[in-house]
Each structure stands twice: as structure tokens, then as C-alpha cells.
Amino acid sequence: MHLLKLILRNTFRHRLRSLLTALGIGVAVLAFGLLRTVVDAWYAGVAASAQNRLVARNAVSLVFPLPLAYRNQIAVIRGVTGISYGNWFGGVYIDEKNFFAQFAVDPPTYMDLYPEFRMSDAEREAFYRDRKGCAVGRKLAAKYGWKVGDTIQIQGTIYPGDWDFVIRAIYRGAEPSTDETVMFFHWDRLNEAIKRAWGVQAGNQVGWYVLRITRPDDAGPISDQVDAMFKNTLAETRTETERAFQMGFVSMAGTIIVALRVISGVVLAIILLVLANTMAMAARERLSEYGVLKTLGFRPGHLIGIIAGESLAIAGLGAALGVALTIPVCNGFAKFVTENLGSFFPVFRLSPETVYLSVGASFAVGLLAALFPCARAVHIRIVDAIRRVD
């Protein structure tokens, strides 16, 4: 109890210095949290992927399509309980800056495979029925102020022309990790437009297939079976779990993610430097006090407790400050990014893990920073400590 009092008194002895140190740690915790959140945003697709879904695409790359005829061949494979397909539309809403994903899908089968996109039965029905209809995510609708019944115009880049869509449904995500910035519309409509523009032979092509399987353990054998089925055809497939498919996008981001991780490591080093600096200063100033404490019969354990306790108290204060700052800054950053880059990062949120990690890292750093001063206080001989005058 007395030890605790001593720790608290020591912490606030140099009020300005302790406060500045805590502030410095807070700022670094903020940077750490922000960087982690950005890295997490890249992994949003991976986090949202389901274990029981496989994705089959053209083996060359996603740019090349697969024939619609594969659907029936894949659907009869044992263990596959559902199949749907989609195309990337790549349209522009008013300005290129307003990027968001548009998928041409077969609505009933696709929504059956993705139960995490939730909408009311009435809206679902209206979306399924209207060929010109589309379903948009809640976040997307909020961003552009869309309501059910509005007509929006998208300019095609891959499929030229101005496309009008009527918003029939606004979906919500079942999980916080669900992407609420996607627009879905009828694949049939796209297919007919392609046939009209480029001839019948250009039609009936899909960008990728999504398969639902009964047991996640069968993912490997079923993938191999699908790929073997279309081996040596004009459009060979590459089938993998949805998670692996999404990981492909993350791995495309490449060393940028590594760089962000390295910087977040550097941030931890900075926290350590700031705190170690303060603790070293405190220990040097109080060396003669430690001598007095030792004379009074305090054991080395007590000294370690006092010094480490002070270090941890400052680190804890800093972590609390940092986390309190991270929440508004992350939101502001997300807003800024959406305004400048559109929905490139559909899910941008501070995860509980990041908060735990920042707090945990701060405490670890607090202990580390106390190491050197503790060793000094424990090892110094009483006479030397008391003799010192500065």
C-alpha cells in the first residue's frame, strides 16, 4: 500500500515531464493504432470470407472470363450445394473519384450463397424482379444519399455506355466485417447488352463462379476436381477457397503492407525511447534517494517495484490517452480516405485486437524502459549513492 503511494507520488513529482512523456506515448500509440487499422483494412476481404465457399476463376487471370456452360458441370460435383457467378462491372459514378465495386450477379443464387448481405423480404423481392434494379450497401447509400426507388447512372468503362439502375434494395451487413459498399445488379441485363453490342458469341461469359460446399475440409479435393474438369480447355480454371482468393488481393498489395508493418514497429521503438529517456532521467536524479531507501531497509525488490511501477503508470496513462485519441482519428482518417479515394477500403474500423495490442505493447515497453534504471538502483552501493551530489 505504501509502495503504491510512493509510486504515485514519484509519478507526479515532475508533473510536466510525466505528462509530456505520457503524451508522447499517447501519440505513438495513436500512430500504431492507425497503421494497424490501415493494414487490417487490406485484410477486410479475408476477414469477411466464409469457410464453406470456393471461388473458381480463369487460370490466366481475373480479366479473362469463363463460359456460363461450366455452371451445370460444376453444380453436379458431389459436395457442392450451391453455385452462383458474377462479373466485375468497373463503372464510374459521376466521377472516377467515387470508386466503389459493382458486381453483375445472378441475384437469387448469389444472395443465397452470401446470407451476410441482409435486406428486407419486400426489398429483396423487388430487387429480384426488376431487371433494371440494383441492391446497394448501407454505407454506399449513406455516402451518396441514395434511397430505395432512386435512379442512378453509371458509366461503363469495360462495357461502354451510360447505364441506369433503379435502387430496389439497401442491404446491411450481418457482421462488422461485411462490405457495405458494393452494388449488385442483374447479370442477365449485362449479358444481353454484351450480346447486342458485340455479337452473340461474346455473351454467356462470367467473371468467376462461387461454390458453396458442405464440408470445409473438402475444399482441397473439390477444387482439384473442378480444375481437372476443365484442364486443357480454352478457359482453364483456378479454384481456391474464398479466403485464399481474397488473400491473393492482399498479396498483390505486396511490400506496401510490409512497409506499414515495419513503420508500426518503428513506432514501438519510439515509444520505448521516449519512456526510457524519462525513466533514465528520473533514476539519475533520485540515485541518492535510492541510497537512503536502501539504508532504511528497503529491499532491491521494493526499489524495482517503485521504479517499474512508475514506468508502468506513465505507460498506462499514455496508452489510455492514445486509445482515446485513436478512435476519433481513425474515423477522421477513414472519412478523408473515402473522400479522396472512394471505397477502396470498404471496411475501415478500429478492431478490439488493435486496442488490446496497443495497450499490451505500451505495458511491455513500460517494463523494458524500467530495466536499466532498476539495474542501476539495485546494483549501486549505498555509500556511492549517498556520496553523489548533483
Binding site: 512523456t21 497503421l35 490466366v60 470508386f99 488473400m247 518503428v266 525511447l273 529517456n277 533514465a280 482518417f333
Partner: protein
Amino acid sequence: MTSTLTVLGLALVVFVFVAVLMLARGLEIALVSTGSDDNAIAIRKGSGVEVSSAIDRNTVSVLKVQPEVLTDPDGSPFAAGEVVVLITLPKRSDGLTSNLTVRGVSERSLLMRPQVKLIRGRLWRPGTSEVIAGEALAGRFKGCGLGETVRFGMRDWTVVGVFDAEGNGFESEIWGDVDQLMPAFRRPVFSSVTLRLRDPSAFEAMKARVESDPRTIVNLFREKQYYADQSKYLATFIRIMGLAITIIFSFGAMIGAMITMYAAVSNRTAEIGTLRALGFSRRSILICFLIESLMLAAAGGVLGVAAGSLMQYVSISTTNWSTWSEIAFSFTLTPEIAAKGVVFALTMGLAGGFLPAVRASRLDLLQSLRAA
């Protein structure tokens, strides 16, 4: 001890600041300098990037005979229809896949892009399944090194040469004979047409005419502008990220400098009193402490820039969000960036040292002498 820690802290912040600037500069070199002012590129109207564009042979013939296009003495135009597709290949490092660009070109294309130079091997022989690979990807993707084979479009392609393009975006591409690649990918149409102009200033007039011609449904860009536009998203992201990190970090470093300087002031209270008693003015003491802080900052700045310069050996690869293909670029240090790093450090030193210096100069003479 505390001075060393402060210098190290400042150095780390300057290092990150400089690294971000170097990254942005490297990206600029890789993408913005990919194009040339003498060239124009046509892609299908509204398609935005080559990968989603399609241009048929009739359009190509109309574009080739525009009066602004440079011709040989024998009258053949400097123009080339090219085909651009994305393929997915595994990386050597971890086996994970990434998209990269395959460009089908003709001999004309090489003449129009003098920055592309073979550094190993040779060019493909016309009519064979031979390709050349950019220096930036030869070492990073499986099958892309000299003499190796890479499989796509139901054929095995032998890499017979490796080319360098002065660090620009072409270095992250595979080039081959357009007449081989088009049938291999079963694409009856080109992706883009590159034209060399007689006179770059005639571009605007040509753009206006070509874009209003009903036979050619295309957008015409200056090649340089086209590649600069492609880097927009990635560059914006790096800039936002860099700005956020730098602002946050500089606060941290300023606080670190402040802590050290406040400690210096309180340790030397008696000294300051003595100096004042000897007749030094408050101003000299203020300046004295500011200079100390600036010297710490300068040391941190120089150390940070020195560490940053080591980053020049590191290259970064990522996917360009506009084209969905792999792009590699390296950290590039310029004298301007180095100067910015040092100035940044000095600013932090000044800002962090100012309040403690003011406190030092305001100390009461008698009380500070008594502190001894």
C-alpha cells in the same frame, strides 16, 4: 544518455519522414516518367485504362494516317497497335500470386520507346513464342528470369531477354510479339494505339479532331499524362498515409525534444544563475538553449537522412489500383528530400526547445543561485 536517446528519437522520425518522401518520388519516377511527351496514346472512349480498352483494326488504320503522326522517309507511320492483358503468376519469394501486365508490341513500339533497352539476352524472333521481361520482375516472379519459361495462353513462352527502362513502369511488364500474343489470348482487338507525333504541340488539335471523328470512338492522351493519371490513386494513398504518419510522428519527436530540454534546464539551474550573475542577459540564455536544441535536432536530422539513404537499396512492389497490375519502384533520394529532412528536424528542435528555453531565460537570478 538522455541526449543520445533524444537524438535517436529524432533520427527515427526524420527517417520515416524521408522514407515516405523517397517512396512518393520513386513512384513518380516509375509511373509519371513512363510516358514520353512526343507520344500519344489512344484507348477506347471511357475505358480509362488499357486493360479495359478495345480498339479494332479499322480504328487503328484511321489513327495511323492522321497528318500529325511522324512517318519514315518511305512514308510508313510511327504508330503501333498494342495488346495489354493481365496474367497471374506466383512470386519467387513466397509463392503467392500477383497480377502483372503482358504487352504485345511490334518493332515500331520499341523505336517509339527509346528508354527501353535490352540489358541481357536478345529480342524475340518474330513468329516465335519468345518474350522479354522487365528487369523489375525478372527476379521476382517464377519463370520470368532469362532462359526460363512462363506459361500463359495455353503456350509456354521462353524469356529470351531482360530489359531495363530507366526505372519506369515498363520494367514491371512482359513484352512479346503482338502477332503472337493476340491469337494466344484469343483477342481479335488491340488494347491501345501508340502514335509518335511530328510536333508535340499539334497534340491538342489532333485530339479534338480524332475524338469527334465518328469512325474512331477513342480518347487520345499524351502518353506522359496517361501514365501520370494511372498513378493518381496510389500516389494519393501514399501521400495521405505519409502525411498522417509524419504529422503524428513529429508531435512525438517534439515532445521528446521538449522533455530532454526541460531536464537540461532543471539540471543546470545553478549554472544559469551563475551565468546571469556574471552578466549574461536573458536573451543570451534563451539563444544558448535554443542552439543546444537545434544542435541535437541537426544531429538527429543527419542521422535520419543517413539511415534513409540506405533505403535506396530497397525496392517496393505493389499493385497499382488503377490498372490492377504489379508495379515495382525503389526509394529514391534527391538532394531536395535530404534538405527537407534536415529542415524538418530543425523545425522540430526549434519547436520542442522553445518553451524550455523560455523557462531558462525567465528563471529568477537569486532563486536559481540558491538552488545550488
